[in-house]
């Protein structure tokens, strides 16, 4: 086997790739971080909220220079029907000061910042370069091919952080059959409004921000919606389940348009100017769709390994990407020290994933994605809940107030939800979230 060009090639300079490259560079290994866009983050899009506490280990005091738009101090969950809205709203001043909790950030800023940190630690970032395939010898992955002239790059270990479509993991045979049911597409508009207008509409000040997660508001397509505050823009969008998307004959941008016109959303977003329209596919199904993560000479991390946690009340991805990248980097360091880049030598990766929140959360919440995107949760429960609350607060004089149990029972029947289904979903929910 010829000498490799570099110890490790990390494909994809997103949060997973940058974290992996940082760990390896700090351990003194030569590492090349390949990015197909003109800069790290240029191809990346998400809803808009990142939970960066995992960086406490990698970059202590990360909040001092992180390119954050706003710190989430107000977290709301909204249920929308055509003409009703029920919001559960929580706010905490504690989330607005170190060590913080969630933050809104633009990915072209966030990923660029993280990759620059990897570079500062000694990783070599090469942009505008697409990895087109794997170099293999026997069963062992020994590098990647790129779309540059003389573009083969040999390495002891390849870490594929090449995103949700991961052509590398698929080429390596680490994915089973790809099923559209495991994916959603996220689309959003970034809408500019003056900072003081955003502050007033969302009841926040300074760098405080609000995160609104929405059940309903997706035009009958299974999925969810969101409104997040950036400094002087809003992220307004939705996440749509792929297989049922065309059933309503509504296009993604029409669904966002409908959301923006909803009486509960319109006052928040109107008069804004759209600055960018973006879309990205999300690996939604969590544990059930995860590929084989370790091969001979190869690890898979981030969205490429379906790390997104789409569990309804918890919607996380960048933190899982950063963590999995970090652990992939650590495992590669171990393997290089032992001179064994086989799957056995790289086994530290999956051990770390199993022992930490990465796979613990995913295992605990393995039923959640399906439950949240199920037809009952999507189409029956929002009406049932909103109508129950509406009747609860409606003063129907001269009719006397009905009891809550009575209202709920009426509305459950009216929505066509059987007690048995409700009990089953409640149990599923408890198992997942409890």
């Amino acid at each position: 086997m010829p000498d490799p060009d570099v110890d490790v090639v990390v494909v994809g300079a997103g949060p997973a790739g940058a974290a992996a490259a940082t760990v390896l560079a700090r351990a003194g290994h030569s590492v090349i971080l390949l990015e197909r866009g003109p800069f790290a983050g240029s191809k990346n899009m998400y809803g808009g909220v990142v939970y960066p506490r995992i960086l406490d280990q990698l970059h202590p005091q990360w909040w001092e220079d992180a390119p954050v738009q706003r710190w989430i101090t107000r977290r709301s969950t909204m249920v929308l029907t055509d003409d009703q809205a029920l919001t559960v709203d929580f706010r905490s001043e504690r989330w607005g000061r170190p060590p913080f909790n969630g933050a809104t950030a633009y990915r072209p800023d966030w990923d660029h910042w993280l990759a620059a940190k990897a570079q500062a630690d000694g990783a070599t970032l090469v942009c505008s370069t697409t990895a087109t395939g794997l170099l293999r010898e026997g069963g062992q992955v020994v590098g990647v091919t790129t779309d540059r002239p003389d573009g083969d790059l040999r390495a002891h270990v390849v870490i594929a952080c090449d995103g949700v479509n991961s052509f590398l993991a698929k080429e390596a045979g680490m994915y089973g059959e790809v099923d559209a049911a495991n994916y959603t597409v996220g689309v959003k508009e970034t809408i500019a409004l003056p900072k003081d207008v955003i502050d007033a509409r969302f009841g926040v000040r300074g760098r405080e921000g609000q995160d609104i997660e929405i059940l309903g508001g997706t035009g009958g397509v299974n999925g969810g919606a969101f409104v997040y505050t950036n400094l002087d823009t809003l992220a307004v969008g939705c996440v749509l389940k792929l297989p049922k998307l065309s059933a309503q004959a509504l296009r993604p941008e029409e669904i966002i348009d409908g959301l923006k016109r909803h009486p509960a959303i319109r006052p928040l977003v109107e008069d804004g100017e759209v600055k960018e329209y973006s879309a990205h596919v999300i690996p939604e199904a969590g544990l059930s769709m995860m590929p084989q993560m370790t091969g001979d000479g190869m690890l898979v991390a981030g969205d490429a390994a379906a790390m997104c946690l789409a569990a309804g009340i918890w919607l996380e991805g960048v933190n899982f990407a950063m963590a999995s990248g970090m652990y992939a980097g650590e495992a590669a360091v171990e393997a290089l020290a032992a001179g064994d880049a086989s799957a056995a030598g790289l086994a530290g990766y999956e051990r770390r994933l199993r022992d930490t929140f990465v796979l613990r959360d995913h295992r605990k919440l393995r039923r959640a994605p399906e439950l949240v995107l199920s037809d009952r949760v999507q189409h029956l429960y929002p009406e049932m809940i909103a109508n129950t609350v509406e009747r609860m607060f409606r003063v129907d004089n001269p009719a006397p107030k009905p009891g809550l149990r009575r209202i709920f029972s009426d509305e459950r029947r009216r929505a066509g939800v059987t007690l048995r289904d409700l009990a089953r979903d409640a149990l599923d929910g408890l198992r997942s979230f409890g």
């Binding site: 899009m45 697409t130 779309d147 998307l245 941008e253 960018e276």
Partner: protein
Amino acid sequence: MSTSAEAAHEHWPPQSFEDLIGTTRFDVHERAHITVDDTVCRGCPSRECIVACPAKLFVPTSDGGILFNYEQCFECGTCYLVCNREGAITWSYPEGGHGVVFKRS
């Protein structure tokens, strides 16, 4: 009541898709990174790609085929995931440095 609602609607005309996608930057490469085997599409009953593609790159033709563009592509992968006909859509990434460039995503 209905007139005031209509008046309010007047103030917020629907946005054209061209204006919307015009907000996003694309550094287009001369070579298409998507190809569609139109003969396969002719037998496709669902044509999910037409509705699902967030960039509206797939357009039905009057003779039952599919016309596609690749220039303003988000490179998301929705099209090949929803495509139920094996091999109708061939999709790879554009040459490095080209394609969509997000700024506020």
